[in-house]
């Protein structure tokens, strides 16, 4: 297949540029920041949470807050909204954890699935509410003085988040969960399969279709940007 050399070169350059920016050390750090959640932890914490123990609830928050925040961030594209939704998510957990029945065979996976389901519902509710009453971020209107020494990097991250959230919105929920599990929580295919209750082959297939769609969407945006520059 004879592809246009310009576009191909552009894509390769774009990928190379991004990869060159990617810090390999960041990946190792993120792995250290997202330790695996064991079944024993959930089995021990959940009854205490159901009885209303504050320490157990905070321990649960520490375990899942960043993971759910990344999911919500990828869905909303706004860090503040994602943070608020994360807090709201745990409030709902406190309210409804008494009626949750843990799967004895895969406690952590079942509890994670329950949390992500709540998160998805929250995003849906938030979008519905936003449709009724549009909200504007103060940061977008009046940019605060940057505490970050590299404001360009901050803006670039914000733009990347928005593009990712828009691209992720085009995926199905299973594809989103696979992508966020794969890249947000750096889970293995087996862990994702256990969380979603699917096989590893199904996870690979979902991953392939999701990345192909994201590459098409993100590549189109990149081509538009390059065309503007050219």
């Amino acid at each position: 297949m004879d592809r246009p050399g310009k576009i191909s070169d552009t894509c390769e350059n774009w990928a190379t540029t991004r990869i060159s920016r990617a810090d390999s050390s960041l990946i190792s750090v993120s792995k250290a920041m997202h330790p695996k959640i064991g079944d024993e932890q959930i089995t021990a914490l959940l009854p205490r949470c159901q009885s209303g123990e504050a320490a157990a609830v905070e321990a649960l928050y520490d375990l899942y807050a960043d993971r759910l925040y990344r999911y919500l961030l990828a869905r909303t594209g706004n860090s503040d909204v994602a943070a608020d939704l994360t807090t709201e998510l745990f409030v709902r957990v406190i309210k409804y954890v008494g009626g949750f029945r843990l799967n004895r065979h895969r406690p952590a996976a079942s509890f994670s699935a329950w949390l992500y389901r709540i998160a998805a519902n929250l995003v849906t509710d938030q979008r519905r509410a936003q449709r009724r009453l549009p909200q504007v971020s103060l940061e977008d209107e009046w940019p605060m003085p940057a505490h970050n020494p590299d404001p360009h990097h901050v803006v670039e991250r914000q733009e990347t988040l928005v593009r990712l959230s828009q691209a992720l919105s085009a995926l199905s929920e299973d594809q989103r969960l696979v992508i966020i599990g794969k890249f947000g929580e750096e889970m293995s295919n087996a862990e994702i399969a256990a969380t979603l209750g699917k096989s590893e082959g199904a996870v690979k297939s979902l991953q392939h279709r999701a990345l192909r769609a994201l590459g098409r969407l993100l590549g189109a945006e990149l081509r538009q940007e390059n065309a503007e520059y050219v």
């Binding site: 297949m1 592809r3 894509c11 390769e12 774009w14 990928a15 190379t16 991004r18 990869i19 060159s20 990617a22 390999s24 960041l26 990946i27 190792s28 993120s30 920041m33 209303g52 504050a54 609830v57 905070e58 928050y61 807050a65 960043d66 925040y69 990344r70 961030l73 990828a74 860090s79 943070a83 994360t86 807090t87 745990f90 409030v91 406190i94 309210k95 991250r157 990347t160 988040l161 593009r163 990712l164 691209a167 992508i179 794969k182 890249f183 947000g184 929580e185 750096e186 295919n189 690979k204 297939s205 991953q207 392939h208 990345l211 192909r212 994201l214 590459g215 098409r216 993100l218 590549g219």
Partner: protein, 553 residues
């Protein structure tokens, strides 16, 4: 083929990226799929940035505060459940309540199902067990179920009488209600089915009769007897079938005073069972001018030799005397109503010389003889008992009913006892004698004449009916003689007074002459004076009621 490979290659590339490799390394390693892998790996590199995002400490602090507030709100009791009563305990309590309810229901049902007469739940059982009959749509099935339930009640009644010595009113009423309902349902069925249901009801009556005989307490025996009579009446009614539209509902055969004379047999004839004379139907056409009554054997009275149909049905199980009386009732019921006609017969001396003459004023000496025939509707066993104390009918003096002198005519009335058990028969056809009192101006509003039985001493030799024989029959009345269906009833030989067998099984001794004693002169010639046995027409099946001494003579 390429897609799975590409998915596997992509997964390998992602693993390499996570391990620290670059996109170029991956594309170089998979050069054949580099064009397809490049955008996907570029998206993956962007997605890897997600792992670097995390909540700030301030955001976490705010979240913790919000969670503690939520926990504090959650810990406040806001449910109706008492503290310490969790959902599990509530479920346990609910299950216990449901189990207790089920246990109570099971115990109640078993107690009701095994209840016997006299128990608290027996009434409920009686009601519940009739429910299947209500479900049945077909009258035949419903009647069968009703009878079956009634048989169940009968069995319980028998057991209760045997054990407690008393009859349960509840069971008795339920039994009769079942029989009644079965008869109602079966009344519209075909004859074989009706006969079948009637036979079963009759068995109930027989069983009740046996129970009554075996009962030691008089009240129990009386109640059982009454119930037996009721059941028997139900069976008979069912056996007779639904009333035909042509049959008049009122059965009041009336007798005229001339019947006494007309029915007065010859001396040799009185010893035989004779059909009762009944007036001929007025619609039969013009009558001859002759005053001689004609004996008409109507269908009212069955043939002496012919047995009623129910006898063939029930055979020897039914006591004969009582059955006879009942059969007679049936027969009479089917008769058309005969309008009350003048019955009193003036004496011959007051008979006008010819037709068209005005009626004569009432004469105190005018006497009319009325024979009121009686019907005995007793069942056999009662009749048998009473028969022991019953004097022989032939030797019984003939009572005469004497009208009030104010009427201007005396009516000799032979009143016989009518004995019937309550409820044994359907509404009794009362025999009313309605003597015509002539023109309205001459009619006296008299009440029913008092029964004045003639003293026994005067009965055989005297001629109590002689005076009545003087009364000429009214030309319009042609009493027919109805043969006595069972002349040997009560074992008494039909004598002069018993010649006229019962033809009216009235349940009451309704012997109600109409307040219009016919005192008018008949345009027809009077009958010849019969012999001394002229008034001996009524048969006595049962003892006479106590008579008032003052009325004798």
């Amino acid at each position: 083929m390429s897609k799975p490979n590409l998915a596997a290659i992509l997964d390998d590339c992602l693993q390499r990226l996570q391990a620290g490799a670059t996109v170029d390394d991956c594309l170089t390693h998979h050069a054949a799929q580099a064009a397809e892998l490049a955008p996907m790996l570029a998206a993956a590199v962007q997605l890897q940035a997600l792992a670097t995002y995390h909540l700030s400490d301030a955001q976490k602090l705010r979240a913790r505060v919000a969670l503690r507030e939520t926990l504090a709100t959650q810990s406040q009791p806001h449910t109706w459940l008492p503290r310490g009563l969790g959902l599990g305990r509530v479920r346990g309590l609910a299950l216990s309540g449901v189990a207790a309810l089920l246990l109570f229901a099971a115990l109640t049902i078993s107690a009701v199902a095994s209840s016997q007469p006299g128990d608290l739940g027996y009434l409920l059982r009686v009601v519940i067990e009739r429910a299947p009959a209500l479900v049945q749509r077909a009258p035949a099935g419903r009647a069968a179920v009703e009878v079956t339930v009634a048989e169940r009640r009968l069995g319980e009644l028998q057991h209760h009488v045997e054990t407690a010595g008393q009859a349960s009113i509840t069971a008795l009423n339920a039994l009769l209600a079942g029989d009644r309902a079965a008869a109602d349902q079966a009344s519209g069925l075909s004859e074989p089915k009706r006969v079948e249901i009637a036979a079963r009801v009759t068995q109930h009556a027989n069983a009740l009769t046996e129970l009554a005989q075996a009962a030691t307490e008089p009240r129990t025996a009386s109640a059982l007897q009454t119930a037996a009579a009721e059941a028997l009446a139900i069976a008979m009614r069912l056996q007779a079938g639904p009333p035909t539209p042509a049959a008049p509902p009122v059965t009041r055969p009336t007798f005229t005073p001339t019947e006494t004379r007309d029915a007065t047999p010859a001396p040799g004839e009185t010893a035989l069972p004779r059909p009762t004379r009944t007036p001929e139907a007025r619609s039969a056409g013009p009558r001859p001018a002759s005053a001689t009554p004609t004996r008409v054997r109507t269908r009212l009275a069955p043939a002496p030799t012919g047995a009623p149909p129910w006898r063939a049905q029930f055979g020897s199980q039914t006591p004969q005397p009582g059955r006879r009386a009942t059969a007679i009732v049936q027969t009479i019921t089917a008769l058309p109503t005969r309008p009350p006609r003048p019955t009193a017969t003036p004496t011959p001396d007051r008979t006008p010389a010819g037709p068209g003459l005005p009626p004569l004023p009432p004469d105190p000496d005018h006497r009319a003889t009325v024979i009121v025939q009686t019907a005995t509707a007793l069942p056999a066993w009662i009749e048998t008992r009473r028969a022991e104390h019953t004097p022989q009918t032939p030797t019984r003096p003939m009572p005469t009913a004497t009208p009030s002198p104010k009427h201007g005519a005396r009516a000799t009335e032979i009143a016989l006892t009518v004995t019937a058990l309550p409820g044994f028969m359907p509404p009794p056809p009362t025999r009313t004698r309605t003597p015509w009192a002539g023109p309205p101006s001459l009619r006296t509003p008299t009440t029913r004449p008092t029964r004045t039985p003639t003293p026994p001493a005067t009965e055989p030799g005297s001629q109590p009916t002689r005076s009545t024989a003087l009364a000429s029959p009214t030309p319009t009345t042609r009493p027919t003689r109805t043969p006595a269906p069972y002349p040997t009833e009560t074992g008494a030989r039909p004598t002069q007074t018993a010649a006229a067998a019962t033809d009216t099984p009235t349940a009451r001794p309704t012997h109600t002459p109409t307040p219009r004693p016919t005192d008018t002169a008949s345009p027809r010639p009077t009958l010849p004076v019969p012999g001394p046995g002229a008034t001996a027409q009524a048969a006595t099946h049962t003892p006479q009621p106590p008579r008032t001494p003052g009325t004798r003579g």
